[in-house]
């Protein structure tokens, strides 16, 4: 299995740790985990180098997940990075908006490692 470099974007440091733990418990081999606390910080991380996947919260200060997705689509080198949105909100509208803006999937909190695996691994395709 290929080792993955992922970016986790969430304004809660605890939530970032929970997501990383869930990815590892889901059996993914992570070689590097980058973190950002909002969309603007995430865009800086994206510019730094190749990523296999981005997992991003929707509701964040400074730049939210939807704005991040829109900005991400303008970066040529980032267009093929799968993005999974993570949300506490039960709002279908927000999820639809995220998928329309380019997200490849979403996870609703609370989630289990099994649900993470189910949603994330199909998106990694050639990376695994």
């Amino acid at each position: 299995m290929k080792k993955l470099k992922v970016l986790i974007v969430d304004d809660s440091s605890v939530m970032r740790k929970i997501v990383e733990r869930a990815l590892r418990q889901a059996g993914l081999e992570l070689t590097e985990v980058l973190e950002a606390s909002n969309g603007a910080e995430a865009l800086v991380q994206v510019q730094k180098g190749s990523l296999d996947m981005i997992l991003s919260d929707i509701n964040m200060p400074v730049m939210d997940g939807l704005e991040f997705l829109k900005n991400l689509s303008t970066i040529e080198s980032a267009r093929n990075i799968p993005v999974v949105m993570i949300t506490t909100e039960g709002s279908e509208a927000r999820v639809v908006e995220a998928l329309s803006a380019g997200a490849k999937g979403y996870l609703r909190k609370p989630f289990t490692p099994e649900q993470v695996k189910e949603r994330v691994t199909p998106l990694l395709g050639g990376s695994l």
Partner: protein, 164 residues
């Protein structure tokens, strides 16, 4: 010419006593999925929530109010360690943040289960109070429901307080 609005205006959702069972379902699910705990409902000791750690998440829009999760510092530490590993129990900031996230997820899960709330109720970021010597007063009129979940001989209390 057609005018389209991006979001529809929220219609106020009134408190329903049946929400206690929805709250129970939402809370039990969060503790089970995030901490691997199967918690059961017990009678609230003394009729009021107790404990040194209280997490709160505000609600605005179709439903205005607050959801709180209150427990002892040791229970909060144990929950954090189940969610984050040993670091969660030994780092007080992580313990508080973990309880805040639990409260946030219970609030999100609750509103997802009540029709008309998912798209029309917004949640605040979580706030965590440390200490027992405080009283919470809410502007009247209001309704509330509290449930106590048994955890290792203690109670984790989850409350919903709504403005009518």
């Amino acid at each position: 010419m057609t005018l389209a609005t991006k979001t529809s205006s929220p219609t106020a959702v009134r408190f329903d006593p049946y929400w206690k069972s929805i709250m129970e379902c939402a809370a039990v699910e969060v503790f089970e999925l995030m901490a691997g705990l199967r918690l059961e409902l017990v009678a609230t000791p003394g009729g009021e929530a107790q404990g040194e750690q209280t997490a709160m998440v505000g609600m605005a829009g179709a439903l205005r109010g607050m959801i709180t999760v209150r427990c002892s510092r040791s229970a909060a530490g144990k929950l954090a360690s189940l969610m984050l590993g040993q670091d969660g129990a030994t780092n007080p900031a992580m313990t508080r943040d973990a309880l805040g996230e639990i409260c946030n997820m219970i609030a999100g899960n609750f509103k997802a289960k009540v029709s008309n709330l998912a798209d029309h109720c917004m949640l605040s970021v979580p706030t965590v109070i440390t200490g027992e010597d405080y009283a919470m007063d809410t502007a009247s009129p209001h309704d509330s429901v509290t449930l106590a979940l048994a955890y290792e001989g203690e109670c984790i209390c989850v409350s919903l307080i709504t403005h009518s």
